[in-house]
């Protein structure tokens, strides 16, 4: 695997739209060619080289390419958007839409990310060592087909509206989650190791949520049906099992109504 190191030396005054910086676009290019990729600061289009220094050439394919971001990328958005393979490492923070609509490969952000990261994700892996903002692994605006697959792992906290319209895949939050988790969910799994604030699983049709801590304001649409012991994200625990959201439609499969499952640790 070849490594391209992109170092932010000339930080943008506004925010930088970096959707072109993916292993797919970098593969097969030399460092000089990579420096000519388009990025946008507001509506101004510039070559990437205006803000970054680039060292190392891309691999032959996306899968063969690793991109390492150095410098403070707090103002760089859309890194790895729609990527299909390869690897990205961000040594510090990054802004919004990191790993949005990604289909494959791996992104590792060592700091924090802002909102809309991993939205519309179809596959691959997004690892965040710090906190994530709002709409993590959520669906794009208006879209009823949210996260389809892949894995999002956030070590810290997540903001609100995590996993809206989730359809598949897994989101693991090491810390706490704010309000609205898996709203309208129709599949997939969300695991919250800390506490959740409220409105967990609202209008959920299918899928699973595990909360290891407490839910400050649980929804009345979930009904307790029993207790289970399960191993979740490498941790074995006892959970109370609820089904819901009883206010929502529920499809019948093999003669039985399908519900979403909400597990809270005892």
């Amino acid at each position: 695997m070849k490594t391209v190191t992109i170092t932010l030396v000339n930080p943008p005054e506004l925010y930088l739209e970096g959707q072109n910086i993916t292993p797919d676009n970098v593969a097969g290019k030399t460092a000089a060619e990579i420096a000519t990729l388009d990025v946008w600061e507001g509506k101004q289009k510039s070559p990437l080289g205006k803000y970054f220094t680039v060292s190392g050439n891309g691999g032959a394919t996306a899968a063969d390419t690793k991109i390492v971001f150095r410098g403070d990328c707090t103002r760089v958005k859309r890194i790895g958007q729609q990527m299909t393979a390869g690897e990205i490492v961000v040594e510090g923070n990054a802004d919004m839409y990191i790993g949005g609509w990604m289909k494959g490969g791996k992104i590792h952000v060592k700091g924090n990310v802002d909102s809309f990261c991993g939205i519309g994700m179809e596959g691959g892996e997004l690892i965040v060592d710090g906190n994530a903002g709002h709409h993590l692994g959520s669906s794009p605006r208006g879209e009823w087909r949210g996260m389809q697959g892949g894995l999002i792992r956030v070590a810290g906290d997540a903001g609100n509206d995590t996993a809206t319209f989730i359809n598949g895949g897994t989101i693991i939050i090491g810390g706490n989650a704010d309000i609205h988790v898996s709203t309208h969910g129709e599949g997939g799994t969300v695991i919250i190791k800390g506490n959740a604030k409220g409105r967990v699983g609202g209008q959920m049709v299918k899928g699973d949520i595990y909360v290891f801590g407490t839910i400050e304001n649980p929804l009345p649409g979930f009904q307790r049906v029993g207790e289970v012991e399960q191993e979740v994200a490498g941790e074995k625990a006892h959970f109370i099992h609820h089904v819901g959201d009883l206010g929502e439609r529920h499809p019948i499969a093999k003669g039985k109504a399908v519900y979403a499952n909400l597990y809270t640790r005892i």
Partner: protein, 568 residues
Amino acid sequence: MGELIVKNGFVFDPLQGIKGDRMDVGVRDGKIVETNTLKNPKEIDAAGMTVMAGGVDIHAHVVGPKVNVGRLFRPEDKLFKSPLKRCNRMEMGFSVPSTFKTGYDYARMGYVFVNEAAMPPLHSPHVHEEIRDTPIIDNAAMPVFGNNWFTLDYLKNNEIENNAAYTAWLLRATRGFAIKVVNPGGTEAWGWGLNCENIHDTVPYFDITPAKIITGLIETNEFLGLPHSMHLHTNNLGNPGNYTDTLDSLRLAEGYTAKNNFGRDQVMHVTHVQFCSYGGDSWKNIDSQAKTIMDYVNAHDNITIDMGQVTLDETTTMTADGPFEHHLRGLNNLKWANTDVELETAAGVVPYIYSPNVKVSTIQWAVGLELALYSNDLMRTFITTDHPNAGPFTRYPRVIKWLMSRAARDATMKTFKWLDRTIESTTIDSIDRELTLYEIAQMTRAGPAKALGISNTYGGLAPGMDGDIAVYALNPENMPSDPDRIEEAFSRCAYLVKDGVVTARGGEVVTEPAKRTIWVDVKVPENAQVQRDIYEHFLRHYSVGVKNYQLFDEHLHNPRVIEVDTTQ
């Protein structure tokens, strides 16, 4: 304005009966003229290409409040689909494109006239403001009458003359073009949580049947002698087994003949018939009854239809048939908007995916094509997708490809998951017919223009008509063996000349000539009773005053008035 000549093309003009003759077409000052009167024209070389009049779309939802609801509540319809600025204005969206994209895309396909299919009268200012913002294409808009309280009251008491006076007033108040009827009575019944599933279901409170509304509006239309006929979206649309209700509706036109000075022959235009031609009694055993419907239509000259072809895309349904949209959201559980428009109509919007993996979708696809392929008279059968209900208008070229090529139909059918069951439930696989360019010109220009009563201006290339000419890179003497080339040629016309101005070249818009709003101004004798009824209804029931209800002139963009005088 200068002179222009389109030279050596193969000209197809069904209004004049020109079937692919190699000839020139001349334009001066925006109008078609005899070529020998031109002095020093600019030349367009159309050698080896097909030349037709600018396209005329008889039924598409392109402007107005429900289209805008579709735009607003489907941001995902724009996502990653409109990144480049190609023209003067930003283009966005696929199934519900922005106004600018609507105009540009029609121009790219060689269309010049689009008839907005349903204008809620109360919201006519919005419709006209969007017409203004839709570049290039000339627009007309049909106000909806089939559930209007005035209309229901007058027709219940057989007061055709009063209804005609009201119709004339409303056409003027909304700067409307024709009488549109959507699920007659049913949309009003929906206000009581009911529907009119066949033409004999009584509308609650008003105590009138859809049959009586339809015949009453035909009579009103012919009493006034409007350019277009009554334009009908039938009852029980979109449900299995509805073809009997459709036949019942069609039979209502029996005995009526067209009375007008606009060259129109039909008294009833039935729109998106694909949605009205289903057999069976459930979604499990739905089948195609297109043949039955077309046998009737072929035998009755006073009816025209358009297809409403399903294009197998993800799209957005929107109709003034409120109960239908409510029903649809129960089927697909997607986001949904519905509204009631005071005394007049209702509307709803629901996204919909016509998938080649879903049996009902592929049967619907076959039904639409069968309608056209069973038609004996393509001057009475028009290409539409009921944009955006069965698919976006940008798929017309694909519909043309399917109609012109059995191989193209076969290639699409190969992608169907339930091919066997689709073939069982339809007759599409037994049809070898391939339409000709002349027939396509009938279905997309000459026919719709004649049915709309505008064939003295649009849809043909006779001297005196508008200088609207579309040139397609297709050689009728050497048609491409790959049907995809047909779709390509019709998607991106080689040239579009509108009002004598080269508007598109090589499939790209190069200039934006002024667009027009076409409306019908009917002069009727003063009618004190109708004046009083209008006054009373606005006083008691409307949320707006009658003065504010009527369109202000500043909303009307570049009008072209068609005058009808019934007082003579």
